[in-house]
Symmetry: D2
Subunit: 318 residues, 4 copies
Amino acid sequence: MTDIAHLGHVEVYTDRFDESLDFFTRVYGLTMSGQDETSAYLRAWDDYEFHTLKLTRHHTTGVGHIGYRASSEAALMRRVEAIEASRFKSIGWVDGDLGHGRAYRFEDPFGHVFEIYWDTNRYEPGPGDTSALKNMSSRFHARGACPRRLDHLNLLSADVTVFREFMETCLGSRVTEMIQLDNGRLGGCWFTVNNKTYDLACTEEHGGGEGRLHHVTYATDQREDILRAADIFLENGVHIETGPHKHAIQGTFFLYVWEPAGNRVELANAGARLILAPDWERVVWTEADRKKGQAWGLKTIETFHTHGTPPVPGKPDS
Amino acid sequence: MTDIAHLGHVEVYTDRFDESLDFFTRVYGLTMSGQDETSAYLRAWDDYEFHTLKLTRHHTTGVGHIGYRASSEAALMRRVEAIEASRFKSIGWVDGDLGHGRAYRFEDPFGHVFEIYWDTNRYEPGPGDTSALKNMSSRFHARGACPRRLDHLNLLSADVTVFREFMETCLGSRVTEMIQLDNGRLGGCWFTVNNKTYDLACTEEHGGGEGRLHHVTYATDQREDILRAADIFLENGVHIETGPHKHAIQGTFFLYVWEPAGNRVELANAGARLILAPDWERVVWTEADRKKGQAWGLKTIETFHTHGTPPVPGKPDS
Amino acid sequence: MTDIAHLGHVEVYTDRFDESLDFFTRVYGLTMSGQDETSAYLRAWDDYEFHTLKLTRHHTTGVGHIGYRASSEAALMRRVEAIEASRFKSIGWVDGDLGHGRAYRFEDPFGHVFEIYWDTNRYEPGPGDTSALKNMSSRFHARGACPRRLDHLNLLSADVTVFREFMETCLGSRVTEMIQLDNGRLGGCWFTVNNKTYDLACTEEHGGGEGRLHHVTYATDQREDILRAADIFLENGVHIETGPHKHAIQGTFFLYVWEPAGNRVELANAGARLILAPDWERVVWTEADRKKGQAWGLKTIETFHTHGTPPVPGKPDS
Amino acid sequence: MTDIAHLGHVEVYTDRFDESLDFFTRVYGLTMSGQDETSAYLRAWDDYEFHTLKLTRHHTTGVGHIGYRASSEAALMRRVEAIEASRFKSIGWVDGDLGHGRAYRFEDPFGHVFEIYWDTNRYEPGPGDTSALKNMSSRFHARGACPRRLDHLNLLSADVTVFREFMETCLGSRVTEMIQLDNGRLGGCWFTVNNKTYDLACTEEHGGGEGRLHHVTYATDQREDILRAADIFLENGVHIETGPHKHAIQGTFFLYVWEPAGNRVELANAGARLILAPDWERVVWTEADRKKGQAWGLKTIETFHTHGTPPVPGKPDS
């Protein structure tokens, strides 16, 4: 096991807290396990930790911070040492919130705040929330789209090559697939710390923003769950941006919507695909490859390349 | 990453080689990447190695050996050292076959032969076999049940507690779920070396055999693939033993059939379930739990508890 | 178009009204469009009439009456004439209830009451219940199992041959598949008045009851909806009797549960199968055929052959 | 039952016969039941007639003729009388081909030839083609996309209002949904003669052609079959025009591809949706409705509005 075990949680900012919370619980199908003055702590029904999404009232949208869980206390300390020895910005230790113990924070050169932690609060289901199957983290509640677990997030940065160095250095993450642009730059990188095909993607910022979020994604058990979710979004007046369709990169079946505050949220299904090879040969996509569209030919719509959160003042669809 | 990266391949014996080969390629949907005097080397369309199933002509049915791939050459040597220092039986180095380089063999106390290796032959698709998507190991051929990759196998042993010690000591594997019998014995253990929920299960031998195989399993991308496969098996006269249904243990959606020589073969889908927690709390099933049947109530049929390969002379359905 | 257009609704009796209503609305996923002193009127989200299930407080369980809608006023009158000219029992005209206009009632020799009607109350969705797609009868609400529409029901009778004559004479229904027992009797008949493969089945009563119901069924759009429903039933403590699996007869994918009062309720999916041939050649199943089990080999459990509602005093599982 | 029972078959012209035949059998998954000098007779595995697609060598692409089966010999004669009494063009009786007996031909004002017939040749499966389930028309072969049955076709005409009169007069067909353009014209009509939601659609010709075909469609049992088919088309180099996605009109889940000669072919799944109401209230879509895109927001690509077969000389994508 690598030092970092898995993506733990994402803090998402919203300037329409009540509407966002209603979306994430009633429509998207997460459940609130707690709240404090500023935030609601949400999780999917089979997430084992207290929360995987921290939804926070804020004057902007976008990402607050990204949390990864270490593999052990010792592994955590090894990572802290590596970060402090690196050229990247350390913030230092913070107390945990409702979801976990102390965490070490650091920042990428594009303004995204990360944290790593070991002590976590496992979710303990109450009487109405305990599954009939003792190996499930809580009851399959079947409310809304009802994904199983947090899957990944996608950040935007002005220089993906630098971001890649940040991920490799600070988290020991590896690149499984990437886009090599004709101009020599990296268009995007897909990273993983475990057998998932990716837990974080970074694509090039085209909107001019700083520290922006492209999307956060939860995983469904079946593709059919995503088709069903499309009808749920439709009936609830949610803006469906694109999908359902299948990505060429990573082969993931996807659906993108915008939650009420404008943050892009995805549902995804990777089928049985995993990266099991310890010496996985990185897949490199060229611009020519990308011109073929997504796996089944869909051309991604314009907003997918420009919209991120927070929006950039004066830029349409950003 | 642990020393052992993943289950690599299973060698299955058949005393009806031609019929078994026809089943595995035309009906089950694996593809032959090579053959030698005794064996056909088969893989699922997205398995990255040369083979994941070695089908071998033999005077019996059952399992020839089980291969796990190490995470590196150094990790391989660490494991060899641990095995040699243990109370378990070392066999020693063997040359690889068509699928991989040298391998170190050892044996559990119940007669199952294991091997670990690092050097592997990646599958290189030819012109007619290259996928339109460059991140797929070969073309999705859509022939037969067409699973995506090798998933796990299930062995039988007279003492699951001892088998567990063997797996922990020799492979550094961990138990994610297990059956605790009222008589104090372990009824079964589910092991993993990575984020898969299990790659090997061992259940108690009730038929009196030695070194027997319960089943080998490949993973499909969707549950619907398994429902479709049930019709394919039906139309091809394959013996469907039980399923499709959902296991209580591990929550896997399953279908069990017997290939022409009698080896039990499964198709399974775990949805998006993974073991991401580095400190996963082992799930313990009691006999009382088991009496409820599988997840949706199906009582497992008698042969599931008695049939293994090779059959035990004089025992019906064994 | 034949004189009778389609199965319109089924009245189900319950001696646990509140629990049954909670089951049918919250778990099974029907919606209440109205109620009167004795009954709740329920429908699936794409049923076009005011109700398809009339759930009635009663001192027993079982079926109250079965309603079929005629193709026109003239067709209704032709059927009334045919019924009155037959050897079967006429009851006469009754006022409609909340769901439809006047109806003509008659009875089969086994105590099941039928009615036919033309005037109906179409369901008019209110503001919170109108679909985003104008061709849907109401909003896809995604609550519970959420089937699309009423599909069929199954009655028990002591003499299926007589019941068949009743259906052909009174409703002009046709038999699409049937079971021919070795003793010369009919074990069951599957009837339809339109292109559905069946809207009513009648199987031989083995429990000794009179006028009993075997089950009522709603149709889901996909098989995957039924697998998902199985988890919903599991998590809500509903008794799952058998399935999900595929029937040999009619090829329907099925799941049977008992609602809180004991009435058997099914979810079914027939895929794209329809009876389009005007001269469809009836399919006859023998006892030998039936011994093979359901399509994928499942042997139907004992209660499926004995349990009906109302239960017969003194008979287990009846 | 109306005079006309169902859509029986479509004759499709191809100027690349061998490639088209390979596509329809190996990739799309139909089976050839016979051939004569000019044509191959193809059917889906559960079509009950000898053929549902007649693929004919021709110097053009497009539709040869459209066959509907009558409900009886008497019904056939009633229709012939109605056609001859109408203002539409009678062609007269022709001998049947390999698939059916004599047929009466007539023509719409836009050059599409129709025929109606009663005598048909049921498909009789041979030893290798008989299903394990006696109620299936032949074995589920699982080759290619493997749809279950013919579903519908879509024709283009310069005046949909006139085409509608033709369908109502000659076939007694009814309109279930239609597009009402702001300019007062009909943009499209969806017709059915039975409980299917539609068996023929006619949309306005924008390419300037005469008697053109927009597409022919077969039905799959599940939406998941269509997602799987998308991968099959991808891996076989078939041009995927648009989809998988869900139509707003009729709510059908769809995927459109072009077979090698350029004829557009669809796979579709309607879930459990049927038109059971004898007095179905026609659904009228306005241009404003249509601007919302398909059900989940996809804007239909340009070629979908311009491409038909045969292509119009000098018009791109026509």
